[in-house]
Amino acid sequence: MSEGSLAAPAAVQHQPGALRRFGTFARRNPTIVIGAAMLAAMVALALLAPWLTNDPMSAAPVERLRPPDFSDFFNPEKRDRFGTDNLGRDIFARTLHGARVSLLVGLTVAALATTIGLAIGLVAGYYRRVDAVVMRVMDGLMSIPSILLAIALVALTRGGLLLLIVAITVPEVPRVVRLVRSVVLAVRERPFVDAAVSVGSRSRKIIVRHVLPLTLAPLIVQATYVCASAILIEAGLSFLGAGVPPEIPTWGNMIAQSRLFFSRAPWLILFPGAALALVVLAVNLLGDGLRDRLDPRLARRM
């Protein structure tokens, strides 16, 4: 290595730059890159919304129901880039701010549901005694429709984002538990678990070190699907009026409030609807790509 000039160019060739490696990765896993890029763009837009747009709440009745005008698009002061709604509010601003709620709900629910589901699934799969009880409880939870649960919770309390997240998470947890449990049941029968026992490892260590890593690949994929479905459920709940309070701009709220006007002003529904579809598509693309990538049988070839 140290005897310089001859070895150096060879080393450069053998270690392609980060950019080239990324290029190779992108060519082999286009769905991951496209999904992740779309999602990253959405997150960036959502985070930067206050600087890119007007106040999403300010109404201007004079300018109501203006059609979209894409000219001078990058002027943050312009109110009718995506048109305005029936109260003259900026739809571009509201769509971007709506992304914050949607992404927050999607990511939080995915994180919560997978974490809780992973913990319960590992225990249920590994300790057969716990399994029978836990899985019956999960079956019970699974039979609760999230929409009804959310409506009930909102009716009992005053509603709010946290409550909404809880209402969407609860019915998602059993799905994760079932997935993790099924992986654990298969993994615990594999000889390396016996081998780990035979060197004196305790159960807790075997679960964390030997079983948990094998559940991660399907779990990550499942997390993306949970995320996508949480975003859709949130939009549905908001549309029904059981989600986020109506004054907060979310895609579901926007679509719900535009119901009466959409035949005259279709952009009221078009933009939040398209944003919703794009986010869910991005998350699902990412999930599908990860599934292909993380499948050990396919990963070997890459």
Partner: protein, 339 residues
């Protein structure tokens, strides 16, 4: 390190045995009834000795090993009688905590399937280091250094770099070397090897056996080698027990056993080894019949239905495992005639 001082007075064996299995009975509780997989097995292993356990599939060899390690599938199988004394301590009476301190530390096991006995998502170094970290309380970096040392010991070249490799980057034979490194990482006193070479091809088998014997010499560990291959037994063991239908049917020094097998089953096993260059056109000898169903209790000798010598007494009464020659035990009513 050693608390060997309290070794029990063991009768018969020349040195105090490090492992003494006495009348071990392991039953499987299945939906169709109780299977007596191991039905009164006794043997001892002396320090530094290699004991071969031979028999055909389903004779209880592996179950015996798993009973010793207490690795039987829970709720399906249970040791229902007997004792397993290791350095004077009855392993069957220990609680799980105490047993964990022995497993991998004082008694280690090498499994049959090197392809599946390693965790695919952990590096081999991590897996070898696991036992070291558990039993010797070493930190991770110390344990990894020890793991590299073990890999070098099992003749894996470039060991320092290969500790960071994953199992799929190793061939079958190399994985079995890794398993051996894992088992020997805490210098156990007894190594239980359950068909360690069965899944490997023949040339690799020889290498692995040679390696195991060398490492045994180096560490002074006793080995309990389970196999169905009499050739492996002949090459590696000092003493042999032959198992049939959950019982020991013959036990002898290896040379004695091959020179003058007393039990008809052992003789049948030996006759069924193909030999090159002798009797070219002769049909390979086989033992007629199949292994008896272990779910129904067997009144007489378990081998009687397949035995060419079986007489009325064989069907009625189970033969005891008696010493017919010095150090040579057989459970056969006709062993006396042969001896």
């Amino acid at each position: 390190m050693s608390e060997v001082a309290t070794a029990p007075a063991a009768s018969g064996a020349t040195a105090a045995p490090i492992l003494a299995v006495e009348d071990l009975r392991t039953h499987f509780f299945t939906r169709d009834g109780v299977t007596r997989a191991v039905d009164g097995v006794s043997f001892t292993v002396a320090p530094g000795e290699t004991l071969g356990v031979v028999g055909e599939s389903g004779c209880g060899k592996s179950v015996t090993a798993l009973s010793v390690m207490r690795l039987l599938p829970p709720r399906l199988a249970r040791v229902v009688g007997g004792s397993v004394r290791f350095e004077g301590q009855d392993l069957l009476a220990l609680d799980e905590r105490a047993m964990r301190r022995i497993r991998g530390n004082r008694i280690a096991m090498v499994f049959q399937e090197p392809m599946t006995s390693l965790n695919p998502v952990l590096t081999v170094g991590d897996q070898i280091a696991e036992a070291v970290m558990i039993h010797q309380g070493k930190g991770r970096s110390d344990a990894m250094r020890h793991a590299a040392e073990m890999l070098r010991l099992v003749r894996i070249s470039d060991a320092e770099r290969r500790v960071a490799d994953y199992p799929h980057q190793f061939s079958g034979g190399m994985r079995q070397r890794v398993m051996i490194a894992m088992a020997l990482s805490c210098s156990p006193r007894v190594l239980v090897a359950d068909e360690p070479t069965t899944a490997l091809d023949v040339t690799v088998q020889a290498q692995i056996l040679k390696l195991m014997l060398e490492l045994k010499q180096a560490t002074g560990a006793a080995v309990m080698l389970i196999t169905h291959d009499l050739g492996v037994i002949a090459e590696t063991c000092q003493r042999v027990i032959v198992m049939y239908a959950g019982r020991v049917v013959e036990q002898a020094e290896v040379v004695e056993l091959f020179d003058s097998p007393l039990h008809p089953y052992t003789r049948g096993l030996m006759a069924s080894i193909p030999r090159i260059g002798r009797g070219r056109r002769r049909r390979l000898a086989e033992i007629p019949g199949i292994v008896p169903d272990l779910r129904t209790p067997i009144a007489g000798c378990a081998f009687a239905p397949r035995c060419p010598l079986a007489g009325p007494r064989c069907w009625a009464e189970a033969p005891p495992l008696d010493e017919h020659r010095p150090g040579h035990l057989a459970a056969c009513w006709h062993a006396g005639d042969a001896a």
